[in-house]
Amino acid sequence: MARYLHSFVLFLALIWLIPGLAAPAHAADDDLRAKIDALASGGFSQTAKQIQDLAATGDDRVVPALQALLAGKLYFKKAGKQVFITEKASGGYALTDPLTGESAGTLARGALKKIRVNNRLRRELKAALGNLTLLSKVTAVRLKAAEAVFKSQDPDTLEALVSAISKETDDGVKKVLEQAHAAVLLKTDAAEADKIAALAVIEDRGDRDALSVVIATAAQAEGALKAAAEKTATSIRQNLELWGAAQNIWYGLSLGSVLLLAAIGLAITFGVMGVINMAHGEMVMIGAYVTFMVQEVIRTSMPGLFEYSLLISVPLAFLVAGAIGMAVERCIIRFLYGRPLETLLATWGLSLALQQAVRTIFGPSNREVGTPDYMSGAFELGHLTITYNRLWIIVFSLVVLFALMAVLKKTPLGLQMRAVTQNRRMAGAMGIRTNWVDAVTFGLGSGIAGIAGVALSQIDNVSPNLGQSYIIDSFMVVVFGGVGNLWGTLVGAMTLGVANKFLEPYAGAVLGKVLVLVFIILFIQKRPRGLFALKGRAIES
């Protein structure tokens, strides 16, 4: 106890005496500290200068302060203008000394002021941090530093780059360093031959950043260098065009997978049962709200499970949307079989009612559904940027499709569903409870729409209007693919997705969509039953 008290008193003394203590203890750091404390005064353009000053010291002890500034965690005391790195703590902010990393107590929010940064300062900071961390011991940090230098292309870094390249052991980092060196060289007044050699290094990189460097060079250079730069630009461009086509296919598949997810449920309710279900989109929306609820519960009671929130949501969304679907079938739709117009109106009314119900319960504004780590960000495949959320959605849509096919083909329930839709009376005569099968089929379709909502919550707004934007597209896919055929839905969704994405760059998003619709109208004229028409007596009747 006494020991605790002792250290507490010491701690208090430290807080009170820091201005006095700091000077003798770190006399050598006076200059650095003055430079850091200078950040507390001045507007953005002064701060930019101060950052450059700090970077010019080449002292890597200023790195934590600069990193904190970039992260918006660098504050200064209103009284005395001393700069500290802060972390939110109970009762205000916990302060850390920017140079020594020692704790400096806690202060209330009101006594501190944040040092503001804007985009220009962020660029300065990243460049400065790049220069200061080129020789870091951690490979990943060096790689990041090399990329930062490539972006900033600050002529002053040339020497640092040369020495960093000579010391570099990791091949990947070395390559980026050489590219950065080449990019910086192009900005200096080096010899023409050196610059042309540098262009080759840049060409090797071949991405949009490289193109940007080369075009900028071509715009300023003259003579042989200009010709070389233009040639390099053309070659990079051609290469990127090819990748662009691949990118379009990828985007098309990813759009297709979203269409597929939205349409699979409808392929059951509309495709198999023939119910024109305008409330289908709302089932998707309900699925998305279930995801939101699950995440809310997890956030408040078991934060550790957040990464699994989507996995937990999938079965729950299926059950909730499925149960609502069954209730709808029992209460409304079963009285309307064989009357498509009335079904259309009733389900449309239902969709408005469901939307308003959700709006009343959850409020009209968007709800935030968090993204687990494995679904955030992107990776590069050659020059393709592949985002994880899209990749997972493609995988997920295929899994759902094949699972549904298995249910229809391999289970007794699927057999009964197919029997009832093909010949209701005969199925009834064989002892199948056709009413019950209708309800379950509708519930299955709705449940799958709910699952789609879990996935769509990752890429779209979770708002009461979520479903509306998918209902037209879903009908389009099912009709185009062929009513009652799951393979048709798959091919239809993917075809429409890819077609849309190839049209979009030329025609624009608005016209592209119109063109796709016109195409479908013409197609349906030619083949009224869609891509994969079912054949047989059941269809004719």
Binding site: F44, G72, R116, N118, N119, R120, R122, R123, K126, K151, R208, D209, L211, S212, V213, V214, I215, A216, T217, A219, L240, G244, Q247, N248, Y251, S254, L255, L352, Q356, R359, G363, P364, S365, N366, R367, E368, G370, T371, G377, A378, T385, T387, Y388, N389, R390, I459, N461, V462, S463, P464, N465, Q468, S469, N500, K501, E504, P505, G508, A509, V510
Partner: protein
């Protein structure tokens, strides 16, 4: 003569009967109409405005109301249905006998109610930033005109960020199209931007697949010149747009996006960590550090009973508009439309960012223009603020048709679109 006389008596009798039935109520309260969608697509934005109006009215009643009478809010739901806006406006004025209406969000809903307010001579306060090119006797525009939002934002990017190449991306309807037309002329004529360095892109309402467009922006941005995106993308489409920007790793330091329709409310459904540094231009941010604002936020949170709710620019516009109306009614000594319209020009009330806003003869108001950067906590941090107040310009100086038009509703001119070249008022109010 006799029949005429009888007719007149009958008419008076009927009017008197109608009057008395309302006088009973009108004697003790002044009715304030609230015309915001509470269902349908626009409910997401407009419900909040209905709530803030209810709060302002409640506050005013605590202070004793207006002209010694309590205010009574009359809420109707035009359900995001444009023709229904006109019907509901008529219902508010003719049936419910309201003295003033606060409402509308989209330009098309405003256009749909204009003839109703003109015909029945009532007052509408419109709180949202819009494309300009309009000035009507019965309407007060408390949101920003393009010169109070779009043009200062472009100036900031050109000066502070050195932007040379511009992407104008918008949703395909009247506000983005007009704003972009103004911006295109401005960029070309005032900032000397070449046609090659401007890319214009429109997307449908609720567009959710932004992969191609974001990739195109990336491509456009790799021409060796600093590039920025000016976004007039509206409503629901913003969330997937920003998600895609974050996913494709477009950082604000590389290609900043400045938005005119994204505020605190829109960011509420988003993880803003990857969006830090992207910009928005408004006349108010919730982060404004003034006592008025702190008080407003406190009242709002306790009124709505939710500590997480945010405030935004159109809410401030209603705050300003409502206070202006109260002041004008007190000056006029009545809530009768013509008297209030005459009295309100020149009325000055405090805004929430520490200054004063004045109603101008063209029925627009003066506002400061703030440029803010998105922070990780979903708030904006002001990085630039116009030194003074910017008066709203109803007719843009950068469109060929409206260059020579001015608007001044003071007598004797009393014209919404007076052509200074021909010296004529073209008669129509809009």
């Amino acid at each position: 003569m006799k029949t005429y006389f009888r007719g007149a008596v009958a008419a008076i009798a009927v009017t008197a009967a109608v009057m008395t039935s309302n006088v009973v109520q009108a004697a003790d309260t002044i009715k304030v109409g609230i015309l915001h969608s509470l269902s349908g697509t626009m409910a997401i934005s407009e419900t909040t405005l209905k709530d803030v109006m209810l709060m302002l009215i409640e506050e005013q009643n605590k202070k004793g109301g207006v002209l010694g009478k309590k205010l009574e809010p009359v809420v109707v739901d035009p359900a995001s249905n444009w023709p229904l806006f006109a019907e509901k406006a008529r219902e508010l004025i003719e049936v419910k006998k309201v003295d003033v209406v606060f409402g509308c969000w989209t330009s098309v809903s405003r256009k749909s109610v204009l003839p109703v307010f003109e015909e029945l001579n009532s007052i509408l306060f419109y709180p949202v930033q819009y494309e300009g090119e309009e000035s009507q006797k019965n309407v007060f525009y408390t949101g920003a005109a393009p010169n109070q939002q779009a043009i200062p934002a472009v100036d900031y990017l050109a000066e502070a960020e050195g932007v040379k190449r511009w992407v104008l991306a918008g949703t395909d309807y009247v506000y983005p199209r007009t704003t972009n037309k103004i911006l295109e002329t401005y960029l070309k004529e005032q900032l000397g931007v070449a046609a090659d360095d401007i890319m214009i892109n429109y997307t449908p309402f609720g567009h959710s697949d932004w992969q191609t467009i974001v990739a195109d922006i990336k491509k456009f941005g790799s021409a060796g010149k600093k590039t920025a995106v000016v976004s007039t993308i509206n409503g629901d489409a913003n969330v997937p747009f920003y998600k895609e920007l974050a996913n494709q790793g477009i950082k604000a330091e590389d290609i900043p996006v400045v938005a005119f329709s994204v505020g605190e409310e829109e960011l509420a459904g988003l993880d803003t960590g990857p969006l830090v540094g992207h910009l928005a231009a408004w006349n108010y941010f919730m982060s404004a550090d003034t006592p008025e604002n702190a008080d407003f936020i406190k009242k709002w949170k306790s009124f709505i009973k939710n500590d997480k709710r945010v405030t935004n620019d159109p809410m401030e516009a209603h705050y300003i508009g409502f206070n202006m109306w109260v002041k004008a009614a007190e000056i006029a000594g009545t809530t009768e439309a013509d008297a209030v319209i005459d009295a309100i020009t020149g009325v000055t009330v405090p805004n929430l960012t520490g200054g004063y806003s004045a109603m101008m003869p063209n029925h627009h108001i003066t506002k400061p223009v703030l440029i803010g950067e998105i922070q990780a906590n979903g708030q904006f941090e002001t990085v630039s603020e116009t030194p003074g107040l910017v008066p709203g310009d109803a007719w843009s100086d950068f469109l060929p048709g409206s260059k020579d038009l001015i608007s001044d509703w003071r007598k004797p001119l009393a014209c919404g679109n007076f052509n200074v070249k021909t010296g004529k008022c073209s008669g129509k109010g809009s």
